[in-house]
Symmetry: C2
Subunit: 490 residues, 2 copies
């Protein structure tokens, strides 16, 4: 067993000041590195994290109650992500380098030579999530994308896994330093008040956050209230509804229902992409689903705070007059078995303020509809979502309209799949309208997550030797660029 008795004290106000000053001092040096140099640092961090797996995984298991295989897989995802961002940095199109050469005949009057690229914002404060202690925490997606962008990172450690945060931070900081990164480029700080101070700190340039709606909203408001407001990228909550057509149910009902049970119970229902609602036709036989769910093993939730939030939300759902409890989950010695509920579409719409709210943990709500038109109606009533899923068959008349409405509501729209499990790829979006996120223009997963930590700068008539290398005529970095509105000839 790992040691759980040692306590970690909150970072002092002076300590945070020192960390932020060091991050700011590191910013121009780190941001000014060549792509290959920064990529090498990201790869070194990945390698050292992989090498520390046997030390880190047990700490993660002890602090998060997640099983070993899950922790090892998540760490692999984390280091894969760092390496993918290293590739992104080297490839260089993320800089959006563009050159408009001087043009005396430009339609609105003579145009000077203007050259644009993206530059790093400066120190980024990252609030990790409890449910993914590796991939969405200390060295997770926000950290990887901010470092890739060239921004120093200060992580506010999640109180659910402080020892893992500290140790992960040590490994990453040492790896970056060993690879030549400047002092101050990465640090971990502790304490809730420290987190508030970090959002308000004058040297902070942006914030990445993964967590609850109330917590994220409070920090969002704080960031907006600063004398100098800064971008706040909060990934908050999502219901992740799944819409099953009659035809899909008829063609593969058993597979749909067991896939649903797998998805909503994955990680004890503690995924931000957990399907919280499944819409199926009235008359769908739910006995096998209920038996399946009732037979699932109990598991410990992440921590006391998650458990309390789950118990409160669950009581509200199970006690609601329009819900029927199909499977009543139970807690034994802190382990929970999953709960399955049912209502109908009309009741869902009538009580949307309660029933369309996320309940983080092992529970989900089956909603029966009488008319497929109700699927479109429920879709239209949704708030912003990370994901929305359609289970349908070719030729389903409702599918196209459903996809159109869900495109307006969600960052990711799935067909005949399950929302849990977000692949880290170039074309991924893990985002969406509020309250899925506080910043609808962006994703927190996938290579385009880097865009959150960059801003455009244009150089007008600056001589070649004084231009950043990315914008010089001879393109010494070999970047993909646009010249006068079109891709530059190789």
């Amino acid at each position: 067993m790992t040691d759980t008795t040692s306590t970690i004290t909150d970072t002092s106000e002076a300590g945070l000041d020192r960390v932020m000053a060091a991050a700011e001092a590191a910013a121009p040096v780190f941001g000014g590195l060549r792509p290959a140099e920064r990529a090498a640092m990201l790869r070194r961090a990945a390698a050292e994290l992989d090498a520390a797996a046997d030390e880190l995984v047990p700490i993660a298991m002890a602090e998060s109650h997640l099983p070993e295989a899950r922790c090892r897989g998540e760490l692999a995802r984390t280091t894969f992500q760092l390496r993918l961002f290293a590739e992104t940095v080297e490839e260089g199109s993320y800089l959006e380098a563009a050159i408009d050469t001087a043009d005396p005949d430009w339609g609105m009057g003579p145009r000077p030579d203007v050259r644009r690229m993206l530059v790093p914002l400066g120190p980024v404060v990252v609030f990790g999530a409890s449910n993914f202690p590796f991939a969405f925490s200390t060295a997770g997606g926000d950290t990887a994308s901010a470092l890739a962008a060239g921004c120093p990172v200060v992580v506010k450690a999640h109180p659910g896994h402080p020892r893992l945060a500290r140790r992960t931070g040590e490994v990453v900081a040492k790896a970056l330093g060993d690879a030549g990164a400047p002092e101050g480029v990465f640090a971990v700080v502790f304490g809730q008040e420290t987190g508030r101070r970090a959002v308000l700190h004058p040297r902070t340039a942006a914030v990445g956050f993964t967590g609850s709606i109330p917590g994220g909203r409070a920090l969002h408001d704080l960031a907006a209230s600063r004398p100098r407001p800064i971008p706040f990228y909060g990934e908050l909550g999502s219901l992740n509804p799944v819409f099953v057509t009659r035809a899909a149910l008829a063609a593969r009902g058993d597979a749909v229902l067991s896939g649903y049970a797998d998805s909503f119970t994955l990680g004890s229902g503690q995924f931000c992409t957990k399907p919280g609602v499944l819409l199926v036709p009235e008359g769908t036989g739910l006995e096998a689903l209920a038996a399946d769910v009732a037979g699932r093993a109990a598991s410990r939730l992440l921590n006391e705070r998650v458990t309390e939030g789950f118990e409160t939300g669950l009581a509200e759902l199970t006690g609601h007059r329009v819900t029927e409890v199909l499977v009543r989950g139970a807690a034994a010695e802190g382990d929970w078995t999953p709960t399955l509920l049912r209502t109908d579409a009309a009741s869902l719409l009538e009580h949307r303020d309660v029933l369309l709210e996320e309940c983080f943990g092992p529970t989900s709500l089956v909603v029966t509809y009488t008319d497929e038109e109700q699927l479109v109606e429920v879709a239209g009533a949704l708030e912003g979502q990370l994901t929305a899923t359609v289970q349908a068959e070719d030729g389903d008349a409702v599918a196209a309209r459903l996809l159109a409405v869900l495109t307006e509501k969600a960052g990711r729209v799935l067909w005949n799949g399950w929302p849990t499990g977000v692949s880290v790829t170039h074309a991924m979006t893990h985002g969406g309208p509020y309250p899925a996120t506080t910043s609808v223009l962006h994703t927190s997963v996938g290579t385009t997550a880097i865009r959150r930590f960059l801003r455009p700068v244009t150089y007008q008539s600056v001589p070649q030797p004084l231009l950043p290398e990315a914008l010089r005529d001879d393109n010494p970095l070999g970047l993909p660029r646009r010249v006068n509105g079109a891709p530059e000839a190789g």
Copy 2:
């Protein structure tokens, strides 16, 4: 003379509700058009505005006190901008279409087929500026980029040119409608309280604003306070400092000083890119500059509110104990001649809270330095700027460091030019850290301004016929796309 007696009443709350409902209803139709269809609408609006020049220009002159040549030039810029966005829409790379095909061997585990593109946000509310009644107002850059993105636009008319706003709006709305755009895609509303309501309106998806720091900040805070926060793109204030090295002054002092006088008096000093501060070596002869400025003609400011703000700011500057008045501008029958002030770099830094604030109107401050190191020091003390300019010679030792610091402070960095006059191009940035803007990631001028009104959506495993055309295998729209992280082979 044009009729200035007719009054325009504020839009009622119910009237705004109707406009916003119509905009929301138009959003999916307008956003779902093919690129060529939306481009044709933008071109039709440009053509009809050009055709209405002889009607619109006199209204603009009467309401803004700007001369005819300036108004005609600005209208030409406005319609050029609409046509450039039409090209941008047709070219299609702004959609950032990306396809990652399914990959069972993907490094973090099997990857499904995921396809990403940008989609319009929904209805955008635009607050135009008074100082550019065409190019930054009703049919200006915010409107053009939002329409190009596929978003309906509701313009809150600037009170400085209500009749021009109304008539411009009529021309644009009719042109869009004649070209086949859905009802509700463009409207103009009136009244300050209407503007506040529009920012808070549940159907509003984003706001574009050009104006003062206090006004913009108040609306920014309102947008952030909504139950569903929305992006607020405010372009607020800027000092636009110009740093002149000893060598530049020695080599071409006369040209630098007369260029400065031209730039800061352009449009009666009512450009957001007006150089408010010019740093020159101590001992620089300022007599010719003072004579030049003193000889400049008087001109009427935009409106009563601008005049009042200018008088207050000017009194603060001229009455400050560390400033010397080189040329005292005077008002005669409402027309102002320019004011020129002087101080030294140490005093500027000591009283930066007053002296580094924008004073909108015909005045500027010459700052003398004893040591070129003070240029870097002043640059480091700046808040966010739209522009920063270096006047220097090849081989100037301070230039590289100055450019590096200014890159952190400004959206556009100029070399041996003047900041007034912002070309509309692909690589332009008209933006910068707060308070230059409230949204440091973006520009309000240039084709990338479209990015402000788009959000990413990813489709996972969606069958070909149900995918948006932009993401289908056969690429029916002929878009530039990225496939598996690299540009798609043509």
